[in-house]
């Protein structure tokens, strides 16, 4: 008895006892769950198998990036869904970043009116549920935009209607390789020039207008290539045929609503992150930079932004991740993303809830774990070393 009391009073052995106890509890709980699943499955006559992935899916997907028809397998449908998730995530992230950074900077400007407008924009968008915003935008596109026959046209080449957005599609013809070649040359030149000018500045202090020269090179060189090879790009302009447009790039109302809602919603959060990041830089840093004679634009570029970047990037990445996870709400408006294909129709058709949900969760989990691994790596790299 006294031996047991002794074990309990010793910190080391007490910790081991506690851990074994916790481990036993968790192990018992998990085996209880597994036991329940197996007995439930037995009584229902079900088994666990992923064979359903290779049988034909039998349903249509209206938006796809790789070839797909309803005779393809469930696996291919899931990949189409995953790519659709990726598509809306990328579009949304681009929109959110542009809008968010602009709003964040406007909120820091000295203009009273613009600051107030930006403030209320942020408060309104981030305090309304994202699902509601998706449905609202979708409703506006479906119910308030005109029919294709009376579509709003932008210069007679792009059209807005309740069937979605149509923009001209570039058709690449023979000779496009030259344009590609010139682009590669331009980018290589820009990279080398950047390295060269940086070295030159470190050695001698001479500064070149790197940004402008590189910008010009990247624009002008491919344009020259385009004209030399005889203008190998033509535009396929959408035309009205019957009840809808044909040709061009089509952005379905669902994709448009989802991109817009996710972009605007996330932009509100990003603007706060950008603002907080810039405000977090000590005032003394700016004053010191100004007192050694830097122009305000240089103070921003050389002193404030490099420090703010360290604060901004981790929460920014997690906002991107949130946007990607929020894109799963696509199911509410019928956009065929991963959750709507594999976790929606495939689930209903095959009746394999367990397998499909495990797959969907595993995919999202691996995306977010790899992004947080990247974030940890970045945090360690930019961490202030000191004290």
């Amino acid at each position: 008895m006294s031996f047991i009391v002794g074990l309990w009073r010793n910190e080391k052995s007490r910790q081991i006892i506690l851990q074994i106890f916790v481990l036993l509890c968790v192990g018992w709980f998990l085996s209880w769950l597994a036991g329940n699943v197996s007995s439930n499955f037995q009584s229902l006559g079900k088994d666990i198998s992923f064979d359903f992935l290779s049988i034909p899916a039998g349903y249509d997907i209206n938006q796809y990036l790789i070839e797909y028809n309803n005779r393809d397998t469930h696996l291919r449908a899931a990949i189409v869904g995953l790519l659709n998730t990726g598509l809306v995530a990328v579009l949304g992230i681009i929109l959110a970043t542009f809008l968010g950074v602009s709003v964040g900077i406007i909120r820091l400007s000295k203009n009273w009116l613009a600051t107030k407008i930006a403030y209320w924009f942020v408060e309104f968008t981030r305090n309304v549920p994202i699902l509601l915003q998706i449905l609202l935008w979708h409703g506006i596109i479906i119910n308030s935009l005109p029919h294709p026959r009376s579509a709003l046209s932008i210069g007679d080449v792009s059209f807005l209607s309740n069937r979605g957005f149509y923009i001209p599609k570039p058709i690449l013809e023979n000779g496009i390789e030259l344009v590609y070649l010139f682009s590669v040359i331009a980018i290589t030149f820009a990279f080398l020039f950047y390295k060269f000018s940086k070295k030159k500045q470190e050695l001698t202090g001479v500064q070149y207008p790197v940004l402008w020269i590189n910008f010009a090179a990247i624009i002008i060189l491919p344009t020259i290539g385009y004209f030399i090879s005889g203008m190998p790009v033509s535009l396929e302009i959408p035309v009205l045929k019957g009840f809808n447009f044909v040709g061009g790039i089509h952005m379905s109302p669902e994709l448009a609503a989802l991109t817009f809602a996710l972009g605007v919603y996330t932009a509100a959060f990003i603007s706060e992150i950008v603002r907080a990041g810039i405000l977090a830089i000590d005032k003394g840093q700016k004053e010191a930079a100004a007192s050694i004679g830097l122009k305000p634009s240089k103070v921003m570029k050389l002193v404030v932004l490099p420090q703010a970047r360290r604060i901004i990037i981790p929460p920014l990445t997690s906002q991107y991740l949130n946007l990607t996870k929020n894109s799963s709400l696509a199911i509410a408006i019928g956009y065929m993303d991963l959750v709507a294909t594999l976790g929606g129709i495939s689930l209903n058709q095959t009746g394999r809830e367990m397998e499909t949900m495990v797959l969907v969760m595993a995919i999202y989990l691996s995306i977010s774990l790899s992004i947080s691994a990247f974030m940890n790596w970045y945090n360690n790299r930019v961490k202030l070393v000191g004290r």
Partner: protein
């Protein structure tokens, strides 16, 4: 000599230079301080003009507040057709709860006000008495909403809906997720490897998957994990999932707070001979919680907004009621009006929550700056 020259009162007090104060000065420094600033101001004015012009006309002047259908609305005027809201306001608030029993929900709403007041405002005069009420409130609310006891008619859960459902899920999620979140945060910081790894796995899993997949699990798969024959209500399952989900996020927020506490605090506690639980109770949590208030409230706001996700598993919260109204042939296509109304409800509640968190943060701020 100079001293005499500038003696106070020897010169009249001059007004500040012209154009630096008053309306003109304010306008100049805040709206037109530079060329780009002036352009921004003009652009904002144009934007504001179109917004206000459109909003006032569509929202109020041309709007119809009572009609029998959308067609009738359009006959009366061209603006918003708020009739879809006014005709269904009962559903938006109570869902399909029977008309005769709605007074019970009203009492629950009023009770919520009195139960939350002492928790939210520490300086309330009769706080100690109200705290007793707060303790009993969940049971009272449960009996009132669910019925079946004390002669109250029992109400089916599938009749719940509207704002009432949002409040039920939101408040229960918030109340249950805070303790669980604190436990997970402590677990993640624990010295015991087993406890730490279990907490990490739970937190990372919950944060890694979209909430919607967890709700699918709750609605279609949770029964597989229970002993055969168990059947508990979908509402409870949903609340459990919301609690787990929010707790994982709260745990991370509180972990940030715990890590921000200087190491000297623990060393001092150890020097005083405090045990782990004493240190946690008197040193770690009071400081960590204070730091994490903004993050915790943000998580609560997120949870509250996420309650709308229950529409994908067929529960009818205000958004679900709105979606049903929009697809009704009588009101078909009035999505903007309906969703804006629901959006207003969420905006008011979430904005109030974030203002409260700002107030509390200032109140608890003990920095001497």
């Amino acid at each position: 000599m100079i001293k005499d020259l500038y003696k106070p009162g020897s010169y009249p007090n001059l007004a500040p230079p012209k154009g630096t104060v008053g309306f003109y000065g304010w306008t100049k420094s805040n709206l037109f301080s530079s060329l780009s600033n002036s352009l921004l101001t003009i652009f904002s004015f144009i934007l504001l003009y179109f917004l206000i012009d459109g909003i006032i006309g569509w929202f109020f002047l041309d709007a119809v507040f009572d009609a029998d259908s959308k067609i009738e609305c359009r006959k009366i005027d061209s603006g918003a057709c708020w009739a879809v809201i006014t005709r269904r306001i009962g559903q938006f608030i109570y869902g399909f709860y029977p008309d005769a029993e709605r007074w019970r929900i009203d009492i629950v709403f009023i009770g919520l006000f009195f139960a939350s007041a002492p928790l939210l405002y520490p300086d309330l005069p009769i706080r100690r008495w109200l705290l007793w009420f707060s303790g009993f409130y969940p049971f009272i609310a449960f009996i009132l909403i669910n019925g079946g006891l004390f002669g109250l008619v029992s109400i089916e859960i599938n009749l719940f809906g509207g704002f009432m459902l949002t409040m039920i899920i939101g408040v229960s999620g918030i109340v249950c997720s805070l303790p669980l979140g604190i436990m997970l945060a402590l677990g993640r910081q624990s010295k015991l490897t087993v406890v730490r790894s279990i907490s990490v796995c739970f937190i990372e899993f919950m944060r890694g998957v979209p909430l919607i997949t967890l709700l699918f699990v709750a609605s279609s798969m949770l029964n597989y994990f229970m002993p055969p024959g168990t059947n508990f209500s979908i509402l409870v399952r949903v609340i459990i999932m919301f609690t787990f989900f929010a707790a994982a996020y709260i745990a991370e927020v509180i972990r940030g707070g715990i890590q921000a506490i200087p190491k000297g605090q623990y060393e001092a506690a150890e020097a005083l001979g405090m045990t782990y639980w004493q240190t946690t109770r008197f040193i770690t949590l009071p400081q960590a919680m204070k730091i994490s208030i903004p993050g915790i409230v943000n998580t609560f706001i997120g949870l509250y907004k996420d309650t709308t996700l229950v529409i994908v598993i067929g529960l009818l919260d205000p958004l679900g009621i709105g979606r049903a109204a929009v697809s009704d042939t009588k009101w078909n296509g009035l999505s903007t009006e309906t969703y804006l109304f629901v959006a207003l409800f969420f905006f008011v509640s979430c904005f109030a929550m974030s203002r409260y968190s700002l107030w509390l943060e200032n109140k608890l701020n003990t920095d001497h700056r």
